[in-house]
């Protein structure tokens, strides 16, 4: 049975990766939200066929291929072309680009759930289409998207563990490297799992509150 001192050492070792986990999660979240929202606007409110096709293709390719494969393409693949990204940069970029495909779908569903009368009322009072999108549609679509975005954030925190495969020094990376130097595999991975759980629990609680709140609003 591992004693408390071993546990303390393991925990200390893992917490060393906490900063990178949070950095990767937050940065890719920012990229995912901003890019995904922009894509959803283009997809819903412009009529350029080529742009629609490009966005659809982007979303399908990123959503139907594993994150691990995308990360390998960015990290090992691009390096073979001479474009060498740091592991953290590749991790942020990869998870961010995948996230954009996910949030694009979430935002689009939000826009599509709005009744047609919302646009009509905006145009009828003399707002321009752009003003209608900014003041009437986008704020509502974002609220409707919140629970979905929350679930995406929970998933994202967990997905950061995958970037250990390209040697980004986050929690799981430290877990794996500690395992090679000690034999406390069960303890190390269980502690890592617990650490992720600690990160996810508050987010999951937020999602629950959001779902309850917006479920109530819809009546």
């Amino acid at each position: 049975m591992p004693d408390f001192e071993t546990f303390r050492l393991v925990l200390e070792g893992l917490v060393a990766g906490l900063g990178v986990t949070v950095l990767v999660a937050l940065s890719s979240l920012a990229i995912g939200l901003a890019l995904g929202f922009a894509l959803s606007l283009v997809r819903e409110f412009t009529r350029t066929r080529a742009a629609h096709f490009a966005i659809d293709a982007y979303v399908e390719l990123l959503r139907n291929i594993p994150a691990l494969t995308h990360l390998f393409i960015l990290y090992f693949g691009l390096a073979s072309l001479g474009l060498r990204l740091s592991s953290i940069a590749a991790a942020i970029l990869g998870l961010g680009l995948i996230g954009a495909a996910v949030t694009c779908d979430i935002f689009r569903a939000g826009f599509r759930s709005l009744p047609k009368g919302q646009v009509e009322a905006g145009l009828a009072v003399g707002l321009t289409p752009r003003q209608t999108i900014i003041s009437i549609l986008a704020p509502q679509a974002m609220r409707i998207a919140l629970p979905g975005l929350g679930n995406y954030a929970v998933q994202l925190v967990k997905d950061t563990s995958v970037v250990s495969a390209i040697a980004a020094p986050e929690i799981m990376f430290f877990a794996r490297s500690m395992v090679t130097s000690s034999f406390q595999t069960t303890l190390i991975y269980a502690t890592a799992a617990g650490l992720y759980l600690l990160l996810s629990l508050p987010l999951m609680q937020c999602v629950r509150v959001l779902e309850a709140h917006y479920g109530k609003l819809k009546g």
Binding site: E60, L61, N64, T69, K158, A192, Y196, L201, M204
Partner: protein, 220 residues
């Protein structure tokens, strides 16, 4: 551009059989994982709906834990961690087990949402018509639940298919691990990982299209 595509012409004949075999392993892993997920998911659902507070408490704790812990941590625990306490799986079994432990929670949540989506009047009408509760569930509730959850179930399968790539990190010889081996052999990581990605796309995309088709009429 031709420079980029050239390896595909040159080595395509050698790569394709390797990738095809790996695709088969990935498919096998995903289907086995999905099947076990549904079995475990239904068991979990029974716990959630049971009269016993202990079982319900266990189910709630299980779902929360599994939602908050990365699949990779679960896979590492199963494959590298458990031997430390004397339990050993081969890599494929550990991967199937890990995937289904994770996705069982999603499956049970889907079933729960599906059951909730059926109006109470449906059950009342069936009972009023003289059905037994069992008949009511089999002939009235279940067919409707299946229709509601079919599309999200397929989405779940595609997620599981993608997550099966993590099994490469516990030495299961599926698409990604095969890709890594090929990348070291041919020194063409870009072309090879893109090919690996397209292999996943070939399996997963038809399911994504199908799930959207199934979802469309319900959304109208």
């Amino acid at each position: 551009m031709t420079g980029f595509l050239q390896p595909y012409f040159e080595y395509g004949g050698e790569w394709w059989p390797l990738l095809a075999e790996a695709m088969l392993n990935t498919a096998l892993l995903s289907v086995a994982g999905f099947f076990l997920s549904v079995v475990l998911g239904l068991a979990l659902l029974l716990c959630q709906m049971s009269g016993s507070a202990v079982l319900r408490g266990f189910a709630a704790l299980y779902v929360t834990t599994v939602r908050g812990v990365p699949l990779l941590a679960i896979l590492f625990l199963l494959y590298f961690g458990l031997p430390g306490v004397g339990i050993t799986f081969n890599a494929f079994t550990a991967a199937v087990l890990g995937l289904s432990l994770c996705f069982a929670a999603q499956v049970s949540e889907l079933f729960r949402a599906g059951l909730k989506a059926i109006p109470k009047g449906q059950r009342e009408a069936a009972l009023a018509a003289g059905f037994t509760p069992a008949q009511c569930f089999t002939f009235v509730i279940l067919p409707q639940v299946v229709r509601v959850i079919l599309s999200p179930m397929i989405v779940t399968f595609v997620s599981l298919l993608k997550d099966s790539s993590l099994a490469s990190l516990i030495t299961v010889n599926e698409l990604v691990l095969t890709g890594r081996a090929m990348a070291t052999e041919y020194f063409l990581p870009l072309q090879i990982y893109i090919a690996v990605g397209l292999c996943y796309f070939m399996i997963g995309w038809p399911f994504s299209v199908l799930s959207r088709r199934l979802a469309a009429p319900a959304a109208r």
